[in-house]
């Protein structure tokens, strides 16, 4: 049964959902906001300022400053996926998602509500880590529009993937599978800690198939003004992935996959 999944006629309902998601974030602030900050401080201390003092400059900046954009992306990806997927899954698990499903909110409004909240969370987390970076290694973006654009784009991508897995999952464990076996490995080898130019040729060639590499490379350009691959290519690839994920999430929400039984 197809319903009007594209309607955008309940702005109050949509904003209520955004507010509800942010209230949820504040209730679990010890899981969502503080861990990325603490983890980032530890990474900067140990790798950036500790080991990094023995590393020569990368892309024209000290290693600790090189590290900050990668760490921001790492946490934005991790937290955005984690929050979107667990909020939706928990709503299914506790049946509280039914509050949305019986209301006059369209699929696109529900997806947009979850994603706007994911974007707000991502921007806040990114700014907090940026503040840590500024205090510890005195680095700031040179290209603020690109900084915000990539934060929003990546939050939309992983917010959508979070919704997809929040719908697919049958238990909380399934949500962790994507984090453990996909996100974490790909982010770690995607250029958080090093530039592709230092990787062996074979590894470098393989990393070109890693979408995280393009996200981190484009985001780091906002800080260093340098990239390993053309900026347009990275933005194009990440945008295409975002659109594809968004389309899948919308389709699943529109058909009521595992929601409207």
């Amino acid at each position: 049964m197809a319903i009007d999944m594209w309607g955008f006629r309940n702005p109050v309902g949509l904003l209520t959902l955004v507010k509800r998601e942010l209230v949820r974030t504040l209730k679990v602030i010890n899981q969502v906001i503080w861990p990325p900050i603490i983890t980032t401080i530890l990474y900067v201390l140990v790798f950036g300022l500790g080991l990094g003092s023995q590393v020569r400059a990368i892309q024209g900046v000290p290693y600790a400053a090189f590290l900050i954009p990668g760490l921001i992306m790492l946490q934005v990806i991790d937290q955005t996926y984690g929050e979107s997927s667990s909020s939706l899954f928990q709503g299914r698990f506790m049946s509280s998602i039914q509050e949305l499903l019986v209301s006059p909110l369209s699929a696109v409004e529900i997806v947009t509500g979850f994603l706007l909240a994911a974007i707000v969370r991502a921007v806040v987390i990114a700014l907090l880590i940026l503040a840590v970076g500024f205090v510890m290694v005195h680095t700031l973006p040179q290209n603020w529009p690109l900084y915000f654009f990539m934060t929003v784009l990546v939050a939309t991508l992983f917010g959508s993937i979070g919704l997809i897995f929040g719908l697919l999952a049958e238990k909380f464990d399934h949500i962790a599978v994507f984090t453990t076996f996909v996100i974490t490995p790909l982010v770690f080898v995607g250029g958080v800690f090093t530039s592709a130019q230092f990787l062996p040729p074979l590894v470098r060639a393989v990393s070109l198939f890693n979408p995280m590499f393009y996200m981190i490379d484009a985001f780091r350009y906002a800080f260093t003004g340098r990239t390993d691959v053309p900026l347009g290519l990275s933005i194009g690839i990440v945008s295409a992935l975002t659109l594809a994920s968004l389309a899948v999430a919308l389709r699943m929400m529109g058909t009521g996959y595992k929601l409207r039984v």
């Binding site: 319903i3 309940n10 109050v12 209520t16 509800r20 509280s96 949305l100 019986v102 006059p104």
Partner: protein, 311 residues
Amino acid sequence: MNASRNGPALRVTDLVKRYGEFVAVDGISLEVARGDFFAFLGPNGAGKTTTINAIVGLATITAGAIEIFGYDNVRAWREARRRVGLAPQEYNFDRYLSIRDVLIYQAGYYGLRGAAVRKRADDLLERFALTSKANDTFMRLSGGMKRRLSLARALIHEPELLILDEPTAGVDVELRIELWELLRELNVGGTTIILTTHYLEEAESLCKNVAIVEGGRLVAMEPTAKLLARRGSTTLTVTLERPLTHLTEALAARGAAYDAATRALRFSGIGPAEIAPTLALIVAQGYSIQNVDFTRSSLQDVFLDLVGRAH
């Protein structure tokens, strides 16, 4: 509230819901008039909750159509959903919100906000004796309070059609009677109410019309009183002071049967209006009456009879 289109509060036409090979709802059609208090009954697994889920949008439908106040719940789903309030069988509250916010956020999802909504939330909390718990989450509420909160949430956007799926399941007798009064008030105030329940005396006491489903099919739908009159049976039992010497033609004509052991004359299928003439006939025949008992089958008897036949 916007003026509704013409049409009954609810019209379900040839509703079918399949899960693979399993047919949960098999061609149910029913109509609920505006202002009705309607019981939707059936044993477990009969298709009641599936039908309700299809009405409110929690289940997709395989075939058929559903109209709410004239609005098709697929093509005009926003208009249809705005008019319905659901108090589901299972608690599904948002665990991150206080119960006051549960009401305010629910109104928000329906596109309502502002001081009027906050006041309505406070009024509902007061009406349902929940004000003292306004800032607690639902996990701190007793079972009865959760039932009341469920009803308050269903009412926050002032729906014209209230659907209650087992609203008094697991609540004590006192609260059940309290909830009945609240529901009667709402119905008198113009809200159409559809109720599913396993407490058939609840349906008999509250509902003007009743539908009974079994195996995904409708087996009865008519006014409660008419169903009881048509399907139910009555018995007048008159215990005599002394034994009956013989069953006269006049008594036999009224369907009397005599039990000598208890000195009881039994008249089956007798209407209330026939009680006094029957007693007068017995006295006229020279017998004194020791005791009179009149019984009528309940909705439960009729329900069991209908569901038994469906099997």
